[in-house]
Amino acid sequence: MSRHSLVAWLFLAPALLLLAVFSFWPVGFGSYLAFTDYSLIRPTQWVGLENFRYIFENEMFVTGLRNSVIFLLMVPFVQVGALALAVLVNNQLPGIRLFRAAFYVPVVTTVSVVGIMWGFMFHEQGTLNYVLMLFRLVDAPVGWLSHDGIALFAIMFVTLWRGLGWYMVMYLAALQAVPADMQEAAILDGASRWQRFWKITVPMLRPTIAVCTILSVLAALKAYQEVDVLTQGGPMNSTFTALYYAYDQGLKHLKLPRALAASFIVSLLCIGIALACLRYLKPKHR
């Protein structure tokens, strides 16, 4: 190895070591442990698909996996909402920076605080029920987090609330990179605002839309933190997600192999989707 290469590797070594231990090792070792009866106190034995059989016969995991798939319903709302927000704030109107900040504030708020605040909002005597009753949208207070048919959607809404601002910034950056002369040429040709949006802006934004959609799909499949701070899986286990099951089993009940089998399934789903999307949506320019 040349001296120059050696120097390069020395620069990289500490970062690579940490990545190896905390990013790559968990994937490899975790996948292996999913097929064992690992525990911290006795020797490990290979058990084949036993853990997978267990979780797929377990109601909490099956509900969780189904809920994780239901979470995907959020993706179009987040993406369309964020793109619409970005279009709304992509101008120099007075006070626009203040609005951008307001939309982004939920993103910089820790999830535990989000859980507490939305717990207040969703309270039976809380503001949400008050407003809905004021406009006669509901007749009686709704138990947003205590009704097993509703709680999951309440959690999904909070996830949407947290995510909008983040994607808005991504889209805003992309919108600002759309060359102004293209828009001007289209205006000269008499294109309407609506036509310009669909014929110029959206095609220019395709790579960003693709990346954001993939990120959003993966985030939806892997959602579990909001569950922990809002319902802890209840009422009656109705808000378990696949990863919340992994978290609950692995760290609250110390059943690591089961937890890892569950996260193995989620990882397979995620990697499969990511690869499929990358293949299909590979940006052509640059």
């Binding site: 990289l12 990013s23 790559f24 760290l251 690591l256 890892l260 989620v266 990882s267």
Partner: protein
């Protein structure tokens, strides 16, 4: 009037969405500084009643808030410092050196973006246990130091530095380390600031991992401590609301004063 019409609608729409984003914060603030009336009632209180800082004082009596605060500062500061050092060291050769295996390393770093890192905490918990780092801040910080996003941002920053500067230094006989610390790092200072401030907020907000590594309440950062406050017997909604406000104040301040860093940071990460 013809001009104001569409703008009026525009502002109404913006205000409605902004209200949805900000209202939970406002309600929590009102609840925290009010001392009279029911917390949950129809109609809700939208304006403080008999405002005082009493509830905030109560937070300090119920939980060791200053300790939580210090823990959060410690975790955020160490994460930022180590991330800036190690990630810029990793980004520099990737941006400016030609060496065997460069493509492979870059590919590996990119791969961590696709890997489902959210599930790493299970095995990382085992690793941290084996390394005897449970209940230590090192255990909390270590897995968060190196991230692909930080390396990519800094790599891009290094790529923008003119080659002439490096060549001139090499002619003068400067070592790679001198070039890195004396020439490159000062030139990418704005990017280091961006990565630093994004990391600080991220580390401050992190909730799951510290709650896994730290088992004793005295060691909690604020993000975990505020939920501990909710679980504490006898803390009223007003006190919880006050604790919530105290928890988010630093990140909100950081965000409002450095808004452009957040907007720019994301932009760079996409490319």
């Amino acid at each position: 009037m013809k001009k104001l019409g569409p703008h009026l609608l525009h502002y109404l729409l913006l205000s409605a969405i902004a209200l949805l984003c900000v209202f939970p914060f406002w309600w929590t603030l009102v609840t925290a500084i009010s001392t009279e009336g029911n917390v949950f009632a129809f109609p809700p209180t939208f304006w403080p009643k008999a405002p005082s800082l009493e509830n905030f004082a109560e937070v300090f009596r119920v939980i060791p808030l200053m300790t939580f605060f210090r823990n959060s500062v410690l975790i955020a500061a160490c994460t930022v410092l180590w991330k800036l050092v190690l990630c810029s060291m990793a980004a520099y050769p990737l941006a400016r050196m030609h060496f065997k295996g460069r493509k492979l390393v870059f590919g590996l770093i990119l791969a961590t973006l696709v890997l489902p890192s959210e599930v790493n905490f299970l095995v990382n918990f085992i690793t941290v246990t084996k390394l005897s780092l449970v209940d230590t801040y090192t255990g909390v910080i270590l897995p968060n130091i190196v991230t692909a996003v930080a390396i990519l941002l800094l790599k891009q920053a290094f790529e923008e530095v003119p080659q002439d500067l490096i060549d001139a230094a090499r002619v003068d006989g400067a070592s790679e380390w001198t070039i890195f610390t004396r020439i490159m790092l000062p030139l990418i200072a704005p990017w280091l600031a961006t990565v630093g401030i994004l990391t600080a907020v991220e580390a401050w907000n992190e909730y799951i991992w510290p709650s896994i590594v730290m088992s004793k309440p005295d060691e909690f950062p604020l993000s975990v401590g505020v939920l501990y406050l909710r679980g504490t017997f006898g803390s009223s909604t007003r006190v919880i609301a006050a604790g919530t406000i105290l928890t988010i104040l630093p990140t909100l301040a950081a965000f409002l004063f450095a808004q452009r860093f957040f907007m720019r940071g994301m932009d760079g990460a996409v490319k």
